[in-house]
């Protein structure tokens, strides 16, 4: 948006500018805005060294055969060919990832938004309490291990004990090892931990909305909470929605560790074997780093596409 506005202003003169003139103009602009670069510098130095450079370095690894011991050997598109032509487990993992992505992506996104909104309607003191309750599962790093106690396959498992007490079943259910049940169980846990960064950012977005907007809205003839949500709240928290969307995309496509912890690795029939799990398998179990990177590269492209789609959808409200 900022860029577009700049271009509009520049257009008449821009047409006349030669390449050299334009370069001079850019240099002049850079000098004029030196303060901006100074303020960016502290963060950008660390960001470039410890994030951007490793990212750039790891991009070409997907096109090589790399076992961490010897120097990477260039193999071109071989890894990608194998992935889509010869790897049945990968094909299955795409399906699993998509199932997870639907639940931890759009569903969890809408849920976070609704929850953040409902919490916002409460009284001040309750707001903090409920935000804490819904965010708590994401706060403690590996607290999802508790679900192992709940879903435990023997009679010591809480869920089994509960169901048997009530007489729903007579024998213990194998929640995490039965191929038909495990996916559902892990989805529940995944939803449970998914009220993370996106949810908190939405809460912050709600808190940042100017209260007088609602009063103005009431005068302008807004009748109920739905209209309020649609015409005031959503338009004024577009940027927070975009942030939450990015966070949700990342967490939806990189589902891995929860399933691996709960259902074991590899899981029964590869039921909770996601693309990320597959990359972990090849990277850290078989040390085929080249292939693992290729898998991650495909995932990255998919996430990038999703990000652009969401950006287009929210485009009205962002910037």
């Amino acid at each position: 948006m900022a860029e577009a506005a700049k271009k509009e202003i520049l257009l008449p003169s821009e047409r006349k500018m030669s390449r050299k003139e334009r370069r001079d103009y850019t240099l002049h602009e850079m000098k004029r805005n030196y303060m901006c670069y100074l303020m960016l510098a502290p963060f950008m130095i660390f960001f470039i060294i410890f994030t951007v450079i490793p990212v750039i370095m790891s991009l070409p690894i997907g096109f090589t055969d790399f076992d961490m011991a010897s120097f990477p050997r260039w193999v071109g598109f071989q890894n990608f060919y194998t992935m889509f032509m010869d790897d049945d487990v990968f094909m299955k993992s795409i399906r699993t990832t998509l199932i997870f992505a639907i639940f931890t992506g759009p569903l969890s996104y809408v849920m976070s938004f609704m929850l953040a909104w409902l919490i916002n309607e409460l009284h001040q003191s309750l707001k903090t309490l409920f935000t804490l309750i819904f965010y708590a599962p994401s706060m403690a790093g590996n607290i999802y291990f508790v679900w192992q106690l709940i879903f435990s396959g023997d009679q010591y498992g809480y869920l089994n004990a509960f169901l048997m007490e009530l007489g729903f079943t007579t024998s213990a259910m194998q929640w995490l090892t039965d191929g038909r049940l495990v996916l559902g169980c892990v989805i529940v846990v995944q939803l449970w931990v998914s009220m993370g960064a996106g949810f908190l950012a939405m809460r912050a977005g709600f808190q940042g909305i100017d209260k007088s907007m609602y009063e103005a809205g009431a005068i302008e003839g807004i009748k109920n909470r739905w209209q309020e949500l649609l015409f005031i709240t959503i338009p004024s928290m577009g940027p927070s929605l975009m942030f939450a969307a990015v966070m949700q995309i990342v967490s939806a496509f990189t589902v891995d560790i929860v399933g691996r912890t709960l259902a074991g690795f590899p899981s029964t029939d590869y039921q909770v074997h996601t693309i990320m799990t597959h990359a972990f398998d090849y990277g850290w179990v078989r040390y085929e780093m080249g292939y693992a990177s290729a898998i991650c590269f495909v995932l990255f492209i998919v996430m990038l596409v999703c990000n652009n789609l969401v950006g287009k959808m929210l485009g009205k409200y962002v910037d």
């Binding site: 860029e3 850079m30 901006c36 690894i61 001040q124 708590a136 607290i143 908190l200 990342v250």
Partner: protein, 324 residues
């Protein structure tokens, strides 16, 4: 009224003025009353569709969903205060019959008997967490302000890079980070623990998004008044982004607190609490209790920071008085 006809024009005018003054006073009084009422009802001031039944409905819905969210955490806490013999009771109990602090005591006893004193690990954790949080919040907020509100060559590109870096996630990324660290000679130092946390772009992106909602007019006004960019960033924009600021403090604290150095640090003297606690939990005899206890211990500091930060977010009228 009949009387009025006999009066002189000047007298009529005087009477009208009196009436007007009385009406004005009454109006003022009523406004004052309304204002008082609004002040008394604080956060939930008069808005459309507000009613008791609605509020109770929302509360009940959130309450039951909250139960689902909190139940596993409750289980973790209960398990951490159960004595060993109660962990394997049939059927499992939802409460501890004979609560004990044994699990915690064991945790700290083993921690104290290891190679380095536990106080050293505590120091490591506190130092790393505070340094990483403070530096990240300072650096990222300043950078976010520039990315959101200034026009300069390269702005659009940098904004893109920030988002793309968030999406990129690869198994080899970590190896490359290790290589960069090794080249700079930072393996097995505090830098290896702190710098990777500072250099993530999530906090920056959140701040950028939040700052982009601040009206440009506010910044222009400050510029006209002669404020420099730094001054505008910290004096005007930041106070208006308090919710986002508190959120990234929570994120960063949590990330830094849970960091285990991921292979970049192997010296016992540099290990943080999560590493030590995980080591103990993985090797302990009564594992369930020990794991639960370690999870509870690790959860307390982020929880405190969360509550403090949330309290600090007062729902200020962010852009009150600004008209775009």
């Amino acid at each position: 009224m009949a009387k009025k006809k006999n009066l002189k024009p000047s007298e009529i005018a005087a009477m009208q003025e009196q009436e007007n003054a009385a009406a004005l006073a009454a109006l003022r009084k009523r406004r004052e009353k309304e204002h008082q009422k609004m002040l008394r009802s604080k956060g939930s001031n008069k808005r459309v569709g507000k009613s008791w039944t609605n509020d109770i409905g929302i509360f009940l819905l959130l309450f039951f969903m909250g139960l689902f969210m909190i139940f596993p955490i409750y289980l973790a806490v209960v398990n951490s205060i159960k004595p060993v013999q109660e962990v394997f009771l049939m059927p499992p109990k939802l409460y501890a019959m004979d609560p004990t602090t044994d699990n915690f005591r064991d945790l700290f006893k083993i921690a104290n008997n290891s190679w380095v004193p536990f106080s050293r690990n505590v120091f490591n954790s506190v130092f790393v967490t505070v340094a990483a949080t403070v530096l990240h919040v300072l650096f990222a907020s300043t950078a976010a302000f520039v990315l959101a509100k200034c026009r300069f060559p390269g702005n659009a590109l940098l904004n893109q890079v920030v988002v793309i870096a968030l999406l990129f996630n690869s198994t080899v990324l970590y190896i490359m980070q290790y290589m960069v660290m090794a080249t700079l000679g930072m393996i097995n130092t505090y830098s290896a623990l702190i710098l990777p946390i500072i250099s993530t772009s999530m906090g920056l992106y959140l701040m950028r998004q939040s700052m982009s909602t601040i009206p440009d007019a506010m910044i222009e006004a400050a510029k006209v008044d002669g404020a420099g960019l730094m001054r505008i960033c910290w004096g005007i924009v930041m106070p208006n982004c308090k919710p986002a600021l508190m959120t990234i403090i929570i994120f960063e604290f949590q990330t830094a607190w849970n960091t285990n150095g991921g292979g970049l640090v192997y010296d016992e003297a540099l290990k943080t609490i999560p590493v030590v606690v995980q080591q103990i939990a993985a090797a302990g005899m009564a594992r369930q209790g020990a794991i639960a206890a370690s999870a509870v211990v690790l959860m307390i500091p982020p929880l405190l920071v969360f509550v403090l930060a949330q309290r600090n977010v007062m729902e200020t009228m962010a852009h009150a008085g600004m008209k775009d």
